[in-house]
Amino acid sequence: MPTRRLFLAGVAASTLARASAEARPVIVGSKLDLEGGLLGHMMLLALAEGKIATESRLGIGPTSILRAALLSGAIDLCPEYTGNAAFFFHEDGDPVWKDAAAGYARAAKLDYARNRLVWLTPAPADNSWVIAVPESLARIQNLRTMVDFARFVRDGNKVKLAASAEFVESAAGLPAFETLYGFRLAARQLLVLSGGETSATMKAAADGISGVNAAMAYATDGALKALDLHALEDTLRAEPVYAPAPVVREAALASYPKIGDILSPVFARLDLASLRDLNERVAVEGEDSGTVAKEFFRARGLIR
């Protein structure tokens, strides 16, 4: 009797599971950071506009957690940066990641072959690591690009950079800048923070906390303008390209093949300037990222 009951329960459970797999909404995830929230809201909005049922799991956690959630099937779709694929597949020394198109193609190929994950059309933006200095310093010392910054450091001027441990140690981070532009920052010229968030580093440079006058930042950081910081242009291309793109599980894409067509016009409109503006509205003006996403859609005619 108990075995029979158990068997029936098992059958019921498996039919339930199958039924839910068919009608299953697309679970959209994102990182806990600000841009993750923005891109996540945009995906939810676009899918809703395309009549695809969604479930929101925005703000799941840092990159590693979001990646684990996507691989395990806890989420179906999330925004990811092409440059991060270099770390996922331990290829961060390879120059291919410095080219937007080639890096995207490599990420898409590797992730599909190994994990059956599909990279959809990326945004024409690059959220790579940059070094930012206060606008006043940039004006006085004429610092516009990384070439200028390297000269400034070599001339023995007072420089102190606030950055995350990852940026300082990773081969694709500060060492890449130093090698390509030919400068070297000593340990006492660095203020190393453990987290990867740039708000604290930028705040330190803007306010001159502990003598900091340069900060690690992301190219699309919304706070750069508000904190009056100038992002030094990586003219010689030391850094990998971090283009945001939607990444979707093949199974979810098979159930809803339209996902690609729905998301590509959205990401196509996200260039560096728009991303910076949108990030700024959330980071600096403190608007809600869902509202900002919706207004962007209206302004660009993506929804009525």
Partner: protein, 406 residues
């Protein structure tokens, strides 16, 4: 003649006698201490911090810049604390302290709200007015004075509940009329209003699930430890080691084995159990709950005197009756205390769960840290503190009931 009468009355109220006639005697050092703390911070710390936007460094405004009525209320209330510390008569002092605390709270809350509204109108639209150290100190001084007065005043339980409800209702009424809408903290909250209830429920869900599983595992473990003393050392040692693992590490360590488990067992996967999300969070919280739970349950039952049990057995109690009528009531206070510790600990620790995708109030805390937005951190942290206080209050009541039944 008149002066003499006043002196006499003064002496009556303030307990001065011949020796200390020139200097009134302090009857409540706590109130005097709170007054001094409030006074020092009012003059040294900013009441409101106003910045042109959410990230910029702002300018501190002292309490004196707030509208006169509210400033006066807070200052008069604060001086009232000093005055009351000299008053004799416990009951009267407690009653007056509650009124004075209400005055300070109203003055600082309404003052902050109105000053923020004024600053917002004067500045650009992205202007942010955040509560400063002087505000938080004044509010804490008022709340501490209030709690102290309620405890010392020996009020009945319904009276305490009424006082608490009156303060909460007044606060909510102020909030509903938009008194705080210009404050940065309120704006962060309103921005996240849509997800707030969801995350709050997530947080409570994690805590309840963890306590449920901790009881499911902890009760049999307690029975084992009570029956077989030899197992006790091993059980407590292993639970002790679990307790020493830093929370972020335990949450992180569980991801890999849980993912593998869900890959191997499709049933788990279809139930949504995998390496990230609520499952590992509940597991980690359960593991942390086990040591305090089993230890207090063990203590509760092992401290029931052997003589009592023998006497009950001698008058013919079976084991079931012995357990229900004798052991359980005697151990109940320890069991409730154990649950109290476990619940409060889980409410705090569940904040970390946001890092592994389990949601909860920690989401706001970590978003706030990442965006350097202290007020967003508070949107997550204040409810966590309030939940812990509420749990503490509920368990205190249950403890009172458990003791009364003895």
């Amino acid at each position: 003649m008149r002066a003499g009468l006043f002196d006499k009355r003064f002496a009556l109220v303030f307990g001065s006698n011949a020796e200390t006639a020139s200097m009134p005697k302090v009857h409540d050092r706590i109130l005097l201490g709170l007054f001094s703390l409030g006074l020092v911070v009012i003059f040294s710390g900013g009441f409101l911090n106003c910045a042109p936007n959410r990230l910029a460094t702002g300018v501190a405004y002292p309490l004196s810049q707030a509208p006169a009525l509210e400033t006066a209320a807070a200052m008069i209330g604060l001086c009232g604390l000093a005055f009351l510390s000299l008053a004799q008569g416990q009951k009267l002092r407690s009653f007056a302290t509650i009124l004075v605390a209400a005055l300070i709270l109203w003055g600082s809350l309404a003052g902050a709200g109105r000053l923020a509204a004024i600053l917002m109108q004067a500045g650009p639209p992205a202007t942010r007015a955040s509560l400063g150290p002087a505000f938080w100190t004044l509010a804490s001084v008022a709340i501490l004075a209030l709690v102290d007065a309620v405890q010392r005043g020996n009020f009945s339980f319904p009276a305490r509940a009424c006082i608490g409800a009156a303060f909460c209702a007044s606060f909510l009424l102020m909030a509903a009329t938009g008194a705080f809408d210009s404050l940065s903290l309120a704006r962060e909250f309103l921005n996240n209003r849509g997800v707030f209830v969801n995350e709050l429920l997530h947080h409570l869900g994690l805590v309840c699930a963890a306590i449920f599983f901790a009881l499911m595992i902890g009760v049999p473990l307690t029975v084992l430890v009570l029956r077989k003393k030899a197992a006790g050392g091993f059980v407590f040692a292993s639970l002790g080691i679990l307790q020493t693992i830093p929370s972020i590490a335990l949450f992180g360590v569980l991801i890999a084995p849980m993912s593998r488990l869900s890959e191997l067992l499709p049933l788990l996967r279809s139930l949504g159990i995998n390496g990230t999300g609520p499952a590992p969070a509940v597991l980690a919280l359960t593991l942390y709950s086990l040591l305090p739970l089993v230890r207090s349950f063990y203590t509760g039952f092992s401290e029931v005197a052997m003589e009592v049990k023998d006497a009950a057995a001698a008058i013919g109690f079976g084991w079931r009756r012995l357990f229900i009528v004798v052991e359980l009531p005697l151990a109940l206070p320890a069991l409730v205390s154990g649950l109290r510790v476990v619940t409060i600990q889980a409410i705090g620790l569940a904040s970390v769960a946001a890092l592994i995708g389990a949601g909860g109030l920690g989401t706001f805390i970590f978003q706030g840290i990442g965006q350097y937005a202290l007020d967003l951190v508070l949107v997550g942290a204040i409810p966590v503190i309030l939940l812990a206080l509420l749990a503490n209050f509920i368990f205190e009541m249950l403890l009172g009931l458990a003791r009364r039944n003895l």
